[in-house]
């Protein structure tokens, strides 16, 4: 479990993180969402004990990060934004080094390496020098080093950045599988990634907490941009045909739907609209609509 209370971090005169509080329950995956420079990396660095906070505190499984850094670090696996690898070592040597850093017993190290190599599919590059492996393998090695000591909490800073679509899907699958054994926080500025992988999201901007959303909240929203404004009869038709739809209203050429329960599959609704000859331009799944609303509302207030 990760608890963050009123966390603040100042760099000179800038408040990189400003009074952020949230909590992630055990076995959940949460996303850190926000534009570049929002304070995602700084917050993660505080959680891993790399940086101290100026105010507030962060606790991992109830232990204060500032109070007992050693104990916290043993529980946390961390993938920084730039994968921290020594290019002059081989994959095998590097993983062994990390396992030793985490104080693993000699006998267990070999099994641990085998386990993470299999989990992250590094078999093909196992004996190669890190400087000679591709970007995708490098990222997987980054994840491998983060999970080698079987951490209870995983902190992944932009785990899919710079990867091709196939690799991104692979890494997302991998992250989802960590849920069985760990609590995960990952940062991203890709909304689709958060929607697909996470149980909840913390939206931050300029160091401040803008919103905390759960899957339930964004799973109940759908915005559909249509070619022409949708008539009232389609809206009422939706409400009647789908008991899950609690509200349906057209604002200009945007059809806004709300649901009573979290939906994983919007296809029947889309099918209904197509049947009614509604020409769909764009479908914004819940989080995207909410995110834009939150970020835009803030910009509006500021100006």
């Amino acid at each position: 479990m990760i608890q963050v209370e009123n966390l603040t971090k100042k760099f000179a005169n800038v408040r990189a993180v400003d009074d952020i509080s949230f909590r992630v329950e055990k076995g959940k995956i949460w996303g850190f969402l926000g534009p570049n420079g929002a304070g995602k990396t700084t917050t993660m660095r505080i959680l891993t004990g790399y940086l101290p906070a100026n105010e507030g505190r962060a606790r991992i499984n109830g232990i204060d990060v500032g109070g007992d850094p050693g104990a916290v670090r043993r529980m946390v696996g961390y993938l920084p934004e730039v994968v921290p690898v020594y290019s002059e070592l081989t994959v095998k040597e590097f993983l062994r080094f990390v396992a030793e850093l985490y104080g693993m017993e000699r006998k267990k190290i070999r099994f641990a390496i085998d386990r993470v190599v299999e989990k992250t599919s590094l078999q093909d590059v196992y004996g190669r020098l890190i400087k000679n492996i591709s970007r995708g393998y490098r990222q997987r090695l980054g994840i491998a080093q983060a999970i080698i000591h079987e951490p209870e909490v995983l902190i992944l800073d932009e785990p899919t950045i710079g990867l091709d679509p196939a690799q991104i899907i692979e890494i997302r699958e991998m992250i989802r599988s960590f849920k069985e054994s760990a609590t995960v926080i990952l940062s991203s500025h890709i909304l689709a990634e958060i929607t697909q992988v996470c149980d909840g999201a913390v939206i931050i901007r300029e160091g401040r907490l803008m919103a905390t959303l759960t899957r339930d909240e964004w799973g109940r929203n759908l915005e559909i941009v249509t070619a022409a404004p949708v008539g009232d009869e389609v809206c009422s038709g939706l409400r009647q045909s789908f008991p899950a739809v609690s509200a349906a209203a057209a604002e200009g050429s945007v059809l806004k739907l709300e649901f009573r329960e979290t939906l994983t599959d919007f296809n029947p609704v889309i099918g209904y609209l197509i049947q009614k000859d509604v020409r769909i331009r764009e479908i914004k799944a819940g989080l995207e609509a909410l995110y834009m609303k939150i970020i835009l509302a803030e910009t509006g207030r500021a100006s």
């Binding site: 050693g70 946390v76 850093l101």
Partner: protein
Amino acid sequence: MRNIWTITKKELKTFLYSPIAYILTAFFLLVSGFFFYNILAWANDQTMRAMQSGYGMERLNINQMLFQPFFSNMTIILMFLLPMLTMRLFADEKKMRTEELLLTSPVRLSSIIIGKYLAALIIYALILLLTATYAVFVFVHGNPEALPLLVAYLGLFLLGAVFIAIGLFASALTENQVIAAVISFSAIMLIWVISWVGESGPGAWQGILTYLSFFSHFKNMASGVIDTQDIVYYLSFVFLGLYLTRSVFEFRKWR
């Protein structure tokens, strides 16, 4: 202890996998070999003259004529060599962003610092050991005294240990290896020549500055005189270097 060794092992690996260690060793042996040859030729020449003329025979001492000037020259080489050995220790970690891995691991900061320090010290000891071949030649062809020679080697080792501690500190200051080398070289140089200021300064300063300089302490050991005061000086300098390195990290955290 195991944590320290983990770091040391990794550092030794990176030293040995990169060409730097080999190039530095070759450079060191080449230059020190050149000095040794020259001093040996000079000592031979002096001996021949003394034997022919019959004067000054009692002053002929191979330790004093050969090893003392040789060790003085070695210190100059070390001043250039060791900053190049230590410059990458922390600077490279920072540049490659691997520092984050070390500092978020359960290994304590002091273990990381000591581990890296030991690695550089081991490489230095190995290089120094290679120069012992010169001494072996002298033992085969002459009869120098072994004890003063060992003391001089100990002095050289301790002096290098101080240089490495200074280099480690300089490396923690920056992410640029060249800057790290320049800082440590300048610092070593300044502390070396501080005794010159001492000699011309007012009374109280004279003693302090001369004590601070490497020079006065190395002179004793190079001539085979072992004094606990000198050893305490070197060890406290090493401790200071490591402590300052630690402070750099503590300071950076809160900046």
